[in-house]
Symmetry: C7
Subunit: 94 residues, 7 copies
Amino acid sequence: MLKPLGDRVVVEPVKSEEKTSSGIVLPDTAKEKPQEGKVIAVGSGVLTDNGERVALEVAEGDSVIFSKYAGTELKYDGKEYLILRENDVLAVVK
Amino acid sequence: MLKPLGDRVVVEPVKSEEKTSSGIVLPDTAKEKPQEGKVIAVGSGVLTDNGERVALEVAEGDSVIFSKYAGTELKYDGKEYLILRENDVLAVVK
Amino acid sequence: MLKPLGDRVVVEPVKSEEKTSSGIVLPDTAKEKPQEGKVIAVGSGVLTDNGERVALEVAEGDSVIFSKYAGTELKYDGKEYLILRENDVLAVVK
Amino acid sequence: MLKPLGDRVVVEPVKSEEKTSSGIVLPDTAKEKPQEGKVIAVGSGVLTDNGERVALEVAEGDSVIFSKYAGTELKYDGKEYLILRENDVLAVVK
Amino acid sequence: MLKPLGDRVVVEPVKSEEKTSSGIVLPDTAKEKPQEGKVIAVGSGVLTDNGERVALEVAEGDSVIFSKYAGTELKYDGKEYLILRENDVLAVVK
Amino acid sequence: MLKPLGDRVVVEPVKSEEKTSSGIVLPDTAKEKPQEGKVIAVGSGVLTDNGERVALEVAEGDSVIFSKYAGTELKYDGKEYLILRENDVLAVVK
Amino acid sequence: MLKPLGDRVVVEPVKSEEKTSSGIVLPDTAKEKPQEGKVIAVGSGVLTDNGERVALEVAEGDSVIFSKYAGTELKYDGKEYLILRENDVLAVVK
């Protein structure tokens, strides 16, 4: 299991549709990077200036929208994840 | 529903008039980006250095003026939104 | 009405004389941008690190000197305004 | 009267001698910018992180040394002033 | 023994497999830098703005994922280590 | 007298030997800038984030080592001084 | 004696072996800069945002590992030292 540190979250990106509307399968580099994902694990929180931890706003299982290209890609147990700072998460989809 | 994080707000931009005064319909790229919008959802507030949240000044339903090009464009449920930091909102129109 | 956010102020610039001393009317781009203006509306104040708001020093009706090129130009109800951060206001003229 | 904001001061620069030692009057651009001046007005002080104002160290009437090229030049009532941040004032001459 | 300072950790990188799937041994520069490692020693913690130390989240013996190219490489007692700031550690593998 | 502001100190640089070991007098630009000096005056101290002044560590009369090229050169009463931030003073020679 | 200021330490670098394994004495510029040293003197500590000093983690006599090229080289009493910020010290060798 991956336990992110601090204000980080582990997100499993939702793959965008791999066919264009005309039905042509695009090669990998032509696809836009995913912007939506599911939170798999969250860190212990933001460390404030006076040394306390503030719990993150997002929780395990949340569907989130995040900035394109944000975070670090990581292959773990054969699956691809992103490790993002909560700050790169724009919104939760409810 | 989109719930923005922290000091972010979701704004639905007000489309600017698509015809110039001479009546010519401009192609998409020639139009100035919208500067006005309606707040659809607001985040939980700014996290201060000592770990408290301060509620945002803008509220759902407000008409706001925001910096051109600020924020991230997002298509959700077929509509286009912007996710802005409150700091990019210049003023509320009352 | 425009209500600026936080440490911002709405200023109506004082138009500088549009004729040069020789009486020639200059085209728009040759004029120096205005440096003086009248405060039309002020924000709710600066948000400090511990989450309190400190009222601005400038008040509605003040004549102010501000940095050339500072702020964002805004056309509202047919008039031109500037939205500035108080930090771009150099001095009040009394 | 000019009342500077925050940590700013209004300084009237002391003109440096306009002739070189050989007696040649230099054109304007060849002169070194003034480094000494007299404080005409001071702001209300530095706003600290916890929202208090700390009075400036310099006072009206002080002779000060300031960084070359610092601040904003301002013509007011036919005289030339500089608006500087106190941080650009290096020392007081006593 | 190496005792890292402050928010630093000493990590022994896990060597990635030196053969590609086709069985060809790659020269050193073609290999991707390791992203996983074992924590050998941890610093005394983060120094907060009010002068207290907050213990690190990672502990000796943890398996960690860290940013590629982060930290400083160090040869000590014939072995290669990395000294990283805890901030460059993305997650703990449990 | 020069009274530096805040965390600044006025230093009289110790002139380095103007002859090289071979006895040749070097032109001005070939000499390395002085790195040692004597503190002539000190400011009122560092202003902390909560608005208090912390007295400087260096005192009038101290011999100090400072970063090459740090600070602002100043000619005052015919003598050359440097105004440095205390942060540019590396060590006191005792 | 050199007394460093604030968060600085004076380090006497440990000279790396001046011969390569093949026995050739390398000219000065070809040698890698030292990464290990002995702490000769330490400053009074880090000044926190609320104006207190926090003692450094390293102490006189410690063997330390520090970033290559960090700090300022200083010749004093015929010996070569480095003045480093504690932040450039990576670890203590125990």
